[in-house]
């Protein structure tokens, strides 16, 4: 038989999924809120702010899906 092969696990430990989901979604929500406040108050738009908050929202929603059991 082949030599004992290394078992593959997820790059992020399973037990951290709910905690990571909560933290990243919180950061994403804060950044989304500040984006909309910025939109509503000033007339000039800042592109880099949009990029920052998308990554926060994206990873947060991914960990939310994983912790809910939808293994994408």
């Amino acid at each position: 038989m082949a030599p004992p092969a290394k078992a593959i696990t997820s790059p992020v430990p399973d037990a951290w999924y709910p905690t990571l989901a909560v933290f990243m979604l919180a950061i994403g929500l804060v950044l989304t809120a500040s984006f909309f406040i910025y939109e509503a108050t000033s007339s000039k738009r800042n592109r880099s702010l949009a990029k920052e908050l998308t990554t926060g929202g994206g990873f947060g929603s991914l960990f939310l899906l994983l912790s809910a059991g939808v293994y994408v």
């Binding site: 092969a5 290394k6 593959i8 790059p11 908050l53 994206g58 991914l62 293994y71």
Partner: protein, 467 residues
């Protein structure tokens, strides 16, 4: 009933020995079976036959192939054929499995089918070796009467031969048949034969030429559950985030004597041993340990009559269909469960990943007529290949699941006529670059990004008609 059978079997006997002497195959090396003992176990609807052959090389050349032959009706229902040879002395015997392959021989008398056992060491002239063969037959017990009422017991026919069909001369042979209960309506007498309790003994018979055949018919009671899964589709979805999701769709049928008349629930529940003795009440499925999120549902919805017992080495799911299954009744349901990825997915030294999973139905003591196993590989996997211990039909498909752009490759394997002995492991190899895992969160992030860009654009666009 017995006299015509004896005349018929004598005629068959003469015919076969004549046929053999006319068309003698030169590829048969001069092997001789000095002692053959066959034990047929009829306790469940899967017939288990244990054959112990003491093969002697009476020729001058060493051989490493031993032929086994089966009548064509039995060969169609053969699920597995295994051959073992014991090695070592009294205290330290080990069983070595030998390769068995189906072979075709040009001048087979009466369409007999052959299997060749390849010995590990060639058998020299004058030497003898003991080979143990195990073969399993499905759909070989025919219910007779074909229709029974609820309160009747199920009786079946089993057809076989008192003499072991073999291309070699057999010096001495005995057959023991074990019935599930002591109720045996009739059995063909081929002297010397007798019956003691649940065991019928045919033999010992001395010095029979090759291809001798003596048909026998045993009519006995068999109330063990005749659970047959007509079609099973097993889908194993691999997610590199740490989970293996298995979904199994069953079409279960009771393959025993068909039910006639009414079904009385009162009688069934008040006296279960007299009423519906052969009905299917419970099914036990053996699942791997550390299983989670197990569900059991059908088209109506969830079926709550199930129990899950887990321990560190296995999990047992005991399910009860919505109604007890009588002869000819069907039930369709879906069982699904999740498993941790690290128990089943491994990485080889040359950077290929492989899934090590069981092929076969987790239900105990059931025959599967047609099984389809689909392994859904994550998006971005390349070069899939499957390694299965027995021949299966393979092809590839594509499936679109969560967050998929190009689709996931699915390796589909199909096999017919399986028994629980087929629950061995198979492997599916593929290559995957870990950087592709980042595609999913980036896809979600880009969805949010597009939403914000849309907001910015909306706030920029001036839709007023009048300036």
């Amino acid at each position: 009933m017995e006299a015509p059978i004896r005349a018929r079997e004598a005629l068959g006997f003469i015919l076969f020995s004549l046929l053999f002497s006319i068309c003698r195959s030169s590829s048969l090396n001069h092997l001789l079976i000095s002692n053959a003992e066959r034990r047929i176990d009829l306790s469940s609807h899967i017939v288990k036959v244990y054959l112990t052959l003491k093969v002697e090389n009476a020729g001058s050349t060493p051989t490493s192939e031993v032929l086994l032959s089966f009548p064509p009706t039995q060969a169609d229902h053969l699920a597995t054929v295994e051959a073992l040879v014991t090695k070592g002395k009294r205290k330290k015997t080990t069983l070595v499995r030998l390769d068995v392959k189906a072979t075709e021989l040009p001048d087979a008398p009466n369409d007999a089918k052959y299997f060749t056992i390849y010995l590990a060491n060639p058998l020299k002239s004058g030497e003898s070796t003991t080979i143990e063969v195990l073969y399993l037959l499905t759909h070989s017990q025919e219910p007779f009467p074909a229709e029974i009422a609820q309160s009747e017991s199920q009786l079946v026919y089993y057809r076989d031969s008192a003499l072991i069909l073999s291309p070699y001369h057999i010096k001495q042979q005995t057959t023991f048949i074990k019935t599930p209960s002591t109720k045996v309506e009739s059995f063909t007498r081929v002297e010397p034969s007798n019956r003691a309790g649940t065991e019928i003994k045919y033999g010992p018979y001395e010095d029979h030429p090759p291809y001798s055949f003596s048909p026998i018919l045993i009519h006995f009671e068999n109330n063990s559950p005749f659970a047959v899964v007509e079609e099973l589709v097993r889908e194993v979805e691999i997610s590199h985030w740490g989970n293996l999701q298995v979904t199994e769709q069953y079409t279960l049928v009771h393959a025993g004597a068909r039910h006639k008349g009414v079904f009385s629930r009162v009688d069934y529940q008040s006296r279960p041993t007299l009423n519906g003795a052969s009905s299917l009440r419970y099914l036990l499925a053996r699942l791997p340990p550390r299983v989670h999120s197990v569900y059991y549902r059908d088209e109506i919805g969830n079926i709550s009559s199930s129990h899950l017992r887990t321990d560190s080495r296995k999990s047992e799911l005991e399910i009860e269909p919505r109604y007890p299954l009588f002869g000819g009744w069907k039930a369709t349901f879906v069982i699904g469960y999740g498993l941790p990825l690290q128990d089943f997915l491994f990485e080889t030294s040359d950077d290929r990943r492989y899934l090590n999973f069981t092929f076969g139905c987790p239900l105990l003591e059931t025959v599967v007529d047609k099984l389809t196993v689909k392994v859904v590989l994550p998006e971005g996997s390349k070069d899939p290949s499957a390694v299965v211990p027995f021949p299966v039909e393979q092809h590839l498909e594509t499936k679109y699941s969560y967050l998929d752009v190009v689709g996931r490759t699915v390796v589909v394997m199909e096999k017919k006529n399986l028994v629980p002995a087929h629950n061995s492991h198979f492997q599916v190899y593929y290559t995957f670059k870990p950087i592709f895992m980042l595609a999913e969160p980036l896809m979600l992030a880009s969805a949010f990004f597009l939403f914000f860009v849309a907001c910015v654009a909306y706030l920029h666009i001036d839709l007023s008609i009048r300036k």
